[in-house]
């Protein structure tokens, strides 16, 4: 994975630190330029698709922007769409950072959601106990679901990429079964009963002031933001956070340094699955208040993309999830106004990741063109150019 974060800065002498800071600033600038160029490139591709649809791209982008940020309602819909993505993006980010490709966030999200729903409707408890219990159980359920591929990887050496995908499908069918048979609340549709009022996260409309009419944005966004801060702190200042980062940079080196890799990987993966599960429950008790069969597919995969878009940093993933969520909100409006399918956004974000991940493409562009950007871009690829490695 491209730069997973530098070595611990406190180990460097002061002069090196200053040079390091300059280098960091420069590489940050290069990185932002590259992200902006990637977004522009994908906007160009998007424009071609719009022209094919006989739509004026500039008009469509204005609609997209208005649909995402143009009114109070639009902003709250953006927040609503972004909330689950923040969880899945953080879950993906943590795993990717540790060097584990947890593509199973989707399934962990579902399993956490259904476990949270069950605790939400089956128990009668005061809010102060009920709500944390729902969140705790969903976290544990997500972690438990992640445990299967984790153990298979750590103890048996089976690649987590295949196993996490397989557990996604199993989770989908398992939750479908549960909603259709044992947990079914109504005979007509495959969905559970509503969760108790004590297990709900308030939507902003329901609060005094009634912000965000026409949206289902809810206070779960604050849980997401808290999680961002906690993860940032943990990764930066705690021992396990340090070990996670080191594991991602070089697992062999970390092993030599005396880090217990089994523990680090397993814990990283479990917390990743837990965050995904937590996101599932927050989406249920905030927006839906009951589990509908296949209520929301694709949050996991979009979270994977958002983490990659945010270059596997805590704040990067957070911003990318907000961006992705608001673009989705904008695209929902586009479906009405321009008849453009909203999958356009998934395509666009996929393309941005494509362009961003292609380190060598920028070298290629830089070497062919004599732009003033070229020097900046050329220096940005820190990796030695190994052919065929």
């Amino acid at each position: 994975m491209a730069d997973m974060g530098g070595l611990d800065k406190s180990l460097q002498p002061k002069s090196a630190r200053r040079a390091g800071l300059q280098r960091q600033l420069r590489s940050a600038a290069q990185r932002s330029i590259r992200i902006i160029l990637s977004i522009l490139a994908s906007m160009v591709v998007g424009s071609l698709i719009m022209l094919w649809y006989k739509q004026n791209p500039i008009q469509v982008y204005i609609w997209l922007f208005q649909g995402a940020f143009g009114s109070q309602r639009a902003i709250f819909i953006s927040l609503q769409r972004a909330t689950p993505l923040i969880f899945t993006a953080l879950a993906s980010m943590l795993a990717f950072r540790t060097g584990v490709f947890n593509v199973g966030v989707e399934g962990q999200f579902f399993v956490g959601a259904i476990a949270g729903t069950y605790v939400g409707y089956a128990f009668r408890l005061p809010t102060i106990i009920h709500l944390p219990l729902v969140l705790l159980v969903s976290f544990l359920a997500g972690a438990a679901w992640a445990y299967i591929p984790t153990i298979m990887r750590q103890k048996l050496g089976v690649s987590e990429i295949i196993t996490t995908i397989m557990t996604n499908y199993i989770a989908t069918f398992l939750t479908s079964y549960l909603v259709n048979y044992p947990m079914r609340g109504t005979p007509t549709t495959p969905e559970t009963p509503f969760v108790q009022p004590t297990a709900k996260l308030a939507q902003f409309v329901e609060l005094p002031g009634g912000l965000g009419k026409g949206s289902q944005a809810h206070v779960g966004i604050f849980i997401a933001i808290a999680l961002v801060l906690v993860l940032w702190f943990v990764l930066k200042y705690t021992k396990i956070g340090y070990e996670w980062r080191m594991a991602g940079i070089s697992s062999r080196f970390s092993q030599f340094a005396g880090i217990n890799m089994d523990r680090v990987f397993i814990l990283g993966m479990l917390v990743s699955g837990g965050i995904a599960g937590l996101g599932g429950a927050v989406e249920i008790i905030g927006v839906w208040r009951k589990y509908k069969d296949l209520f929301a597919t694709g949050f996991g995969f979009r979270g994977n993309l958002a983490a990659l878009l945010g270059r596997n940093t805590v704040f990067g993933s957070f911003v990318a999830a907000l961006f992705y969520g608001s673009m989705e909100a904008g695209a929902l409006g586009l479906e009405w106004s321009a008849g453009l399918p909203r999958q356009l956004i998934d395509i666009a974000v996929g393309l941005i990741v494509f362009f961003m991940a292609a380190e060598g493409m920028w070298d290629f562009v830089a070497s062919k063109k004599g732009w003033s950007l070229s020097g900046l871009l050329r220096r940005s690829s820190g990796k030695p150019q190994v052919q065929g490695g």
């Binding site: 499908y169 999958q343 494509f354 292609a358 380190e359 065929g388």
Partner: protein, 322 residues
Amino acid sequence: MDSALLAQIWDVLSRYVFNVANLQGMLRLSTPVVLAGLCALITDRAGILNIAGEGMILFGAWFAVAGSFFFHSSLAGVMAAILSGLVVGGLFALFSLKFRAHIIIMGIAINIFGNAATIFLTRAVFKQAGAFADPRIVGLGTINIPILKDIPVLGPLLSGYTAIVYLSWILVALTFVFLYRTPWGFHLRAVGEHPEAAATLGINVQAIRFGAVMASGVFAALAGVYLSLGHLQMFTEQMAAGRGFIGMAVNTFGAGEPLGVLLSSFLFGLVDTIGWRLQGERIMPVYFVSMVPYITTLVALTIYTVRQQRRRKAIVDNGVSR
């Protein structure tokens, strides 16, 4: 054991496991898995971790339907799918090999992209959501092998499938011949086993890998053709349903050998068929039947890996080096 019990066991086995209908089902359900397995195999042997099979299958399935729909010919559908496989494979190779994008990130991106793009195209081109079926889509049709089709058990077992089924078996044989009987295959294996050494021998590592990824695109596209034009002539969103990954598992389980891929795909097909049979007899709810291929993948991978490790450990214990 008394003979009554044995007879009963045989009765159950022949009813649920070894009968012509099941074996036919096995061959049918295994075909896309064989092709997905070849897709994984050819890149795996060239030393590339290609997880993009899923996205490539989706593109293949979509373009097969589109080609067949617009040109009123299943052959055009196959051609369109193969072309899409070459293009997607080419892009994947270009970005991951030449532009040095992280190959797993690229694979994840292609899979998500393939899913979104085929849903988008279905809505944009055919104005349909979820699935697209139309009488104007020409299916593949079945091939009845003369003489063979009249032999009692073998006839129904081996005759009367669509062309892709036979093609998948031929491709398994061709892949074997390519890998072990041609200089290109030798180069590919060399690149996969030790790229640096291969490079010093003057083998163009990049070119070989490029070719392998393009070939994997074609294999995946053919798997897609089978899904969309094989039995029901329709494209359904997310119809690859993890077969790209099951292909990777089959390749692992088959130890990266063409014949191994074929046999482990048959095993998958058989387990899958039995699952559907149990559902038909109302022994198991449909949701658990649908899980069967994925659970089989997990189990197969685990068995393979454990066995492999035991063998490696035995080698170390005996002080034998490879």
